[in-house]
Structure formats: C-alpha cells, structure tokens
C-alpha cells in the first residue's frame, strides 16, 4: 500500500470555489480523486479524475482526504512520492480559475481549471 506522510499536520485544503466545483463534478461523474501532476504543459497542477480512474501504488503518497459539504466521501489527494520529496515543506490549497483544458482532468470542459496555491508549512 502507498504510504501517508507521518504526523497530524494538514497538507492540503480546498478553497470554497474549488469545493463548489468538486460538488458539481461529483454530481456529474461520481466520487472523485486528485493526483498532483509534474512536468510540462499542464503539469504542476492537480488532475481530477473519477475515483480509481488513476491507479495509485507504492510510488504515490496520500497527502490528505478532503471533506466537502454535500459530498458523501472525502476526496483523496495523491502525489508521486518522488515529487513529494521536493514539495513536503509546503501546504497546498486547491483553487479554481478560468481556464481551458488540462490533461484528462474532469473540470476542463466546464471552462475552469483546478490550480494549486502554496504556502510554507509551519513546523
């Protein structure tokens, strides 16, 4: 099983606008998941898929499970372990902006795009 970073510290959160979009996408597509991308083009942004569409494994870490009002199950947020090694000192907030496309992420057809805003984690 994939590991989860130790400690009770919150590593990832949603803005109210992103939570609203998660609610809308859940109605349309069912339970959701996030996997943080790296690399070019639409990289460095979170990808949103139907739960289980993207296979996670030992190479991934679960950063958090995002509770959203009105959504039955929390939404897991994953990242590859190798990428987490470079990101672990920052807290991530999933936001949403107007946009056009992004890999196979589910929100793109709605004319919006999930985006990560970051801050330093306090020790």
């Amino acid at each position: 099983m994939a590991s989860r970073p130790a400690g009770p510290v919150e590593r990832v959160a949603l803005t109210p606008e992103a939570a609203e979009l998660v609610r809308a996408l859940t109605v349309k597509h069912g339970p959701l998941m996030f996997h943080q991308s790296g690399g070019c083009c639409d990289g460095s942004s979170p990808m949103c898929y139907g739960r289980g569409e993207f296979r996670t494994g030992d190479a991934d870490v679960l950063l958090g499970e995002l509770a959203v009002d009105g959504v039955a199950e929390p939404v897991p947020f994953w990242m590859s372990a190798s990428q987490f090694a470079y990101w672990s000192h920052t807290h991530l907030t999933v936001d949403v902006v107007e946009g056009r496309g992004g890999g196979f992420s589910l929100e793109a057809p709605e004319g919006v795009r999930f985006l990560i805003r970051s801050r330093l984690l306090e020790e």
Binding site: V97, G99, G102, G103, S105
Partner: protein, 507 residues
C-alpha cells in the same frame, strides 16, 4: 518593426473559419453530440473560432476512417510516401508567412519565432522523414549456409497522437512526419487550448493526403483524449504533456498491451562555467543570449533553461549582464515582428505562473527583475502576459524543481565541476541541459555527466531534425526528431527462411 494584420481582418494573410468540426476520412464531420467550445486567442483573450467538442463516438468514427486508410497507405512504396511528405513541405513553404501568423494568433507566441523557427522546422521535419524513409533498410542475418533471417519494417497500422499547446503545429509535425513516413494512419487530437492552427494547416495540404490517413478529432482530454488513448484499435499512442497524464496513458496502454512514447517535460539546468567570462567577445555575448533563452516562447518549452547555474567566481558580473540582457527583451503584440516575448497560451497558465512567483517569494527567492503580470494595455489588456523574471535562490526551492512553463529562470551559484553536476542532476527530470565553457574537455565531461537526453553545448534551444530529442528519468520514453523515431512507429517482421531441402531428422 512592422505588424501583421490579425487573422480575418483587412490585409491579413490568412483567416480562420468561424467553426471547425472534426476532420475525418478527408472531410469535415460534425460532432455526434453537437457540442462546440470557444477558442480564444491569448493575444487579446477574445474568442476567434469555435471548435467541435469531440466524444468517444467521434473518436470511434475517426479510428474507423483510419483503419480504412491504413492498409493502402502502408502498402504505398516508400518513394511515393516520401513524395507526399515533400509535397506537404513544399506547400507549407509556399504559405510560410500565413502559417506563422496563424500559429502566433493561436498560441500567443511572437511571429518572429514562428517565422524563423516553428514553421521552417516543421517544413524541414517533413523533408527529413521523406529522406530517411527512402534510406531505411531492413536487415538480414545469415544464420548458416542455408538459413537466413530477414528483418522487414512494417507499419503499426493506426496510431493515436495527443499534441501539446506550446508548439501546436511543430509538435503535431514531430509526431505526424515519422508516423506517416513509416506508413501508418493517424488519429490526432490537438490540445483544447490550441485546436485551430492544425486545421488551418490541414486546409492547405488536405488535397495531398489520401482520405483517412490523417484524422483530427478535437476536444477535451477527459472526453476525447481518453477514448483515443484507451482504445484497443489504436496500435500505439504518442503523447507530449505532463507526468500524471503520462502515467494515465501508460496505464491505458498496459490494459491493451500497446506501446507508448511520452515526452513529459523537464527542469533543464543551464550551466555557465567561469571561463565564459574570460573575454567580452562574441562567445560571451552568445552565452548571455543562451542565459536569456529561458524567455523563448514565453518559457513554454519542455526544455526551457529554467535553472541557471553560474560558477561563483564570475557569478555577480555574469548575472548582472544576464539581468541587463533580460531587461532588454521587447514584450508586446505577438504579431509585431520586433516582439520577442508574447502572451502565455491560456489564462490558467498565466495563473499558474503567478502562483509560482508567489511561492518562490515565500521560500525566500529574490526577484532580480520582473516578477509580475505585464499590463500591456489597449487591445492586449485581456491577454495573458508575464514579465520576464529572474529569481535567485537555492535548488531545493520549488521554483527550482517544478516546471513553471513561463518566462521565469531560477538562478543559483556553484563552486566547482562536482558541485555543478550535483545540482544539475538533483531533479526528477532529464530532458535538456546547457553547458557553456571555452574548455572542450570540461564541456565533454559535463555533457556526459548530466543525466539528460539532450545536452546543448555552447548553444541552446536548437531543434534540428537528425538530432535525437527525448528524456531521461521522469521526462519520458522515446526519441523524437531523429530517424530512430521511425522504429517507434514500426513493427519488425522476421522471416526465418530455410533454403535447405534436408529434414532436421527429429521426426
């Protein structure tokens, strides 16, 4: 400086249609579900055409057309296929300026780059693969006096290609030229951010290709990309983009036991050894241009030299000269021939870059120049412009580890060769790198020590056909822009032939 008229306005070299459907089987086909989406130009943020919103039904139809065309195209003699590719190149050359304007309007990049790089490189790419397919030979192995193994190259059949938005025409051509040369039929999905310019290209060359050999299905990744990438009737998928989608495409390919080629980006180090500053000559000037290459194509290049490593002994003087060169960049209307940096390709791209400038500052990176959105006013007010930015910090910062895909370079110093190599290789990626020195031995040793598929040595951002391009580490699988890409689009057929009349004697 002069400015090309915007597409579709008075005096313009080209006009976009008001709508593009899917190009399937040699004609335009409306989307089964009837949906369209607006396509804005990053220059002003205003829509200029609408695009069919493809779904699985449209993808299936395109794959049908490709399967109808593939056997005939695959049997066409290599000389004839080469002639078609050369004719495509010739037609593009005749319309070079119009294609350059179309691409600039679509992507936001400066027309001087599309005139000098994107379109000429695309033209040459077709000519290169027209040449290599004629020169490619199978092989034979003489196993004994009467037994011979013949190796033939055969096309895969129908392949799927998913194209990125940073060089919409050139990246399409990087994938189309080897696939077509090898005798495959293609279903291509352009990026939803930049779907139109490949249709303008097709309008110029459609009469040269047999129907169904190239099919274009537009749409979003989740709706059109997935049905293409996961389709069991597609023999291979080629993708340029990012790591999570790359993994997802490999996952689909594993379900169908199909091969993939992937180009997934990088965080390319650009290393300036101290002897660069030994003289203020042409070479020094060239190295400063090499430093400033981070701003080429607004930084939206998988091999953007987005980490500059400068030896401590000349750190301050070289960096000061680099800042001056960066501040001399002309940013403005992409259709002005004097503009060096244009618009980012989309609003979400702009927002992502700004979010990185934010976390960079929080982590303690110093902004040496730029560091904000560029407000250019007038008709460019709604466009997506970022000031070329130099950050100074350390390699553990996220702005040194992640592809910002904007005109942003993160600068740090190094003490000696080993330190430079350690920093250069401390990254998840390995697509490109730059090495600058007057010492040939040092250049060679650095080039071999850096874990990247392409090490530009005393140059950067050159993309000629016949030099292999592809990634180490998490930057992908496969090598483009070289004849070795042909084999990524071919099967090997072995005929093992006995010319002996004698039985083995086992039965």
């Amino acid at each position: 400086m002069s400015r090309y008229a915007a597409p579709g306005t008075e005096g313009a070299l080209m006009a976009y249609q008001t709508r593009y459907d899917h190009w399937i089987g040699g004609s335009y086909v409306a989307p089964k579900q009837g949906g369209y989406f607006e396509n804005p130009t990053p220059v002003t943020g205003q829509p200029f055409t609408e695009i069919a919103r493809g779904t699985a039904d449209d993808v299936e139809r395109a794959i049908d057309a490709a399967h109808d065309a593939a056997p005939g195209w695959g049997r066409t003699p290599p000389a004839e296929r080469a002639q078609v590719l050369n004719a495509v190149a010739q037609r593009m050359e005749e319309h070079l300026e119009a294609l350059a304007v179309a691409e600039s309007w679509e992507n936001g990049k400066p027309v001087r780059e599309t005139l000098a790089a994107d379109i000429p490189l695309a033209i040459d790419h077709f000519r290169y693969f027209a040449g290599v397919i004629r020169a490619q030979e199978g092989s034979l192995s003489q196993l004994d006096e009467d037994t011979v193994a013949y190796h033939f190259h055969e096309p895969l059949g129908v392949v799927g290609q998913i194209i990125p938005w940073n060089f919409p025409i050139l990246m399409a051509v990087w994938k189309l030229a080897p696939a077509l040369a090898a005798g495959n039929a293609v279903v291509l999905k352009p990026a939803e951010q930049t779907p139109a310019s490949v249709h303008y290209w097709m309008s110029l060359i459609a009469d040269l290709l047999p129907p169904g050999v190239v099919n274009i299905v537009n749409g979003f990744g989740a709706e059109a990309g997935k049905p293409l990438a996961s389709n069991p009737r597609v023999a291979k998928v080629a993708f340029t983009g990012e790591t999570t989608t790359g993994r997802l495409i490999m996952q689909y390919a594993s379900e169908n036991l199909k091969p993939v080629t992937l180009e997934l980006g990088g965080k390319s180090p650009n290393i300036f050894f101290e002897d660069v500053s030994d003289d203020g000559d042409d070479f020094y000037d060239k190295a400063l241009e090499g430093f400033t290459m981070f701003a080429l194509n607004q930084g939206e290049v998988c091999t953007c030299p987005s980490r500059a490593l400068i030896q401590r002994t000349h750190y301050r003087s070289f960096l000061d000269a680099g800042i001056a060169r960066t501040e001399a960049i002309v940013q403005g209307h992409p259709l002005d021939t004097g503009t060096m940096v244009g618009a980012q390709a989309s609003n979400d791209q702009l927002e992502k870059i700004l979010s990185y400038l934010d976390i960079g500052r929080q982590e303690g990176a110093r902004v040496l120049t730029g560091g904000a959105r560029a407000e250019l006013g007038g008709e460019l007010e709604g466009g997506y412009y970022v000031r070329p930015t130099i950050l100074e910090g350390g390699n553990q910062m996220r702005v040194f580890q992640e592809e910002i895909f904007g005109p942003v370079v993160s600068v740090t110093g190094f003490t000696d060769f080993d330190d430079a190599m350690t920093i250069a290789n401390d990254t998840l990626y390995g697509l490109g790198a730059g090495v600058w020195t007057r010492n040939g031995t040092l250049a060679y040793r650095a080039g071999r020590a850096i874990q990247a598929g392409r090490v530009w040595t005393n140059c950067f951002h050159a993309y000629p056909a016949h030099a292999a391009f592809g990634g180490y580490k998490q930057s992908g699988i496969g090598r483009e822009t070289h004849k070795m890409m042909l084999e990524h689009y071919q099967q090997t057929k072995n005929l093992l032939v006995s010319y002996s009349p004698k039985k083995l004697g086992l039965f």
